[in-house]
């Protein structure tokens, strides 16, 4: 199967796992909003969990709850990032954002409950021995809290009112938290599940995460809203420093390509078993949305 076929198959399974986790909950707007928020998306982070697990000889089923967990966590972060007091976005994946479709209170609560759900999913017995599940919970917490994703988002918001645009070092630090930390943890999760050394996957995902953000900045300049599914040109309009404003469009593309080479090289210890993850890395900088 090609990477795109694997990604689509994994996305369908993750969708089912999330639907199962949300089944039987109260018939309330907050629960409807949770279901809405976790539907759709590429499921790249969930795919990284599943492919990392398979590369270590585990079945997809043995890692599925962990893949659903990182996608629930990711969905929560998007719902909160889109809020009026944060990035103030009204469109996500081509659809109205949660606070537009419902209201702010429902969006805050749905995001809160999706974060909780992520940790609950990491406790699923199917993920193996308790030691493994505790390591997954701790790893997810480290990646998503005030030393990871939340810190990155806070730095991003602070940058909007900073006296000077951020430097390349500052943008890189910001990205390492905001989008990098969860991508890195997602890739490592397969090794954690298998009790293997996560170092090669961490190196792969560190380069991949940075390339992913650079590609996002390029899309914000080159993409059109219909294909991207959200407003574009926003960063430039806001006068925000991005990898494109700091490196130039061609410089940013060259940097993203070099990072993908780096990501692929990090997978050398896995030999041919890493082919799908290498394809995933190339996809990240080739995507149009």
């Amino acid at each position: 199967m090609s990477f795109r076929e694997v990604l689509a198959a994994d996305a369908a399974l993750i969708e089912v796992r999330l639907a199962l986790a949300l089944a039987g909950m109260a018939d309330q707007p907050v629960v409807h909003a949770m279901r809405y928020a976790v539907s759709g998306g590429k499921r790249l982070r969930g795919f990284l969990v599943l492919e990392g697990a398979r590369m270590h000889g585990l079945t997809t089923e043995a890692a599925l709850s962990a893949a659903a967990a990182v996608e629930a966590l990711h969905a929560y972060s998007l719902v909160h990032d889109d809020l009026p007091s944060m990035d103030d976005d009204d469109l996500r994946r081509g659809q109205p954002t949660v606070h537009v479709k419902w209201d702010e209170a429902t969006a805050i609560l749905a995001g809160d409950a999706l974060q909780t759900l992520a940790f609950e999913l990491m406790c699923a017995p199917a993920l193996g021995p308790a030691e493994v599940r505790v390591a997954l919970v701790a790893g997810l917490a480290k990646a998503s809290g005030a030393e990871g994703m939340v810190l990155g988002q806070a730095l991003d918001i602070a940058a909007e009112t900073a006296p000077a645009p951020l430097t390349l070092a500052q943008i890189t630090e910001l990205q390492a938290g905001k989008t990098g930390a969860l991508i890195r943890f997602s890739a490592e999760a397969g090794a954690i599940l298998a009790g293997a050394d996560p170092a090669p996957l961490r190196a792969y995902a560190t380069a991949l995460g940075l390339a992913f953000q650079i590609a996002d900045d390029i899309l914000d300049v080159e993409g059109d809203a219909a294909a991207v599914g959200k407003r574009v040109g926003k960063d430039a309009d806001a006068g925000k420093a991005t990898f494109v404003s700091l490196l130039g469009l061609e410089g940013a593309k060259a940097r993203a390509t070099a990072l993908i080479d780096e990501a692929e090289a990090a997978l050398t210890p896995y030999g041919a078993a890493a082919e799908t993850l290498k394809e995933a890395a190339r996809f990240v900088i080739a995507r149009r949305n």
Copy 2:
């Protein structure tokens, strides 16, 4: 030691454990806001964890990270509940709320990161075998997500725009989620830590949690803002149904007293070892703030 002395000593230890968890984090407003949000408060939930553990022969140290975890979770819920789109409170424990002292984005992010921190604290090796820590993480998730605390808060917000005031059954369901679920889990945590049957503590905390909410509603009518540390008379002004509006002031007091008797009776299996928890129950309805 009297209950008040135990509560004060436990609060001091929890304060230290939370400070330790937040030490070394980035020097950023979101982290300052997290420290601000977790400081102060009675630490009743943390006390329940610690006393429940001691009643099962465990040391305070063996349960301290779990007590800090429930207090971090509680602090997150207060920060988010106080937001303008939620309960819109500008005063908490006699101090400006987080979104007033900083801004909404910082309050949302600080709350998000405090929830994450709660789950991270539950993974602390000091809490014992991995099986115990997974059970604590799963229990905390169940109590705080869309089947517990978040559901209760969502029902509370929905009640504000409901065509008719809530019934006693609806208020009781709302409370069982909004404040009851975390109080229940806090009391059960000691039994989980010790590998003991949590049923008596669950029965105790179910009655205690409801009495606690009724006492809150009484305080909203009888208290003065200076002593309570937050705005009072708010529910009546908003025409919201409360235990006082549904049962009358005397009826609410009688119900709270009956629930405390019920809570004490549930602890019979523990004999004299439960004296401090019984005192805690009586304190809940006698408090002035």
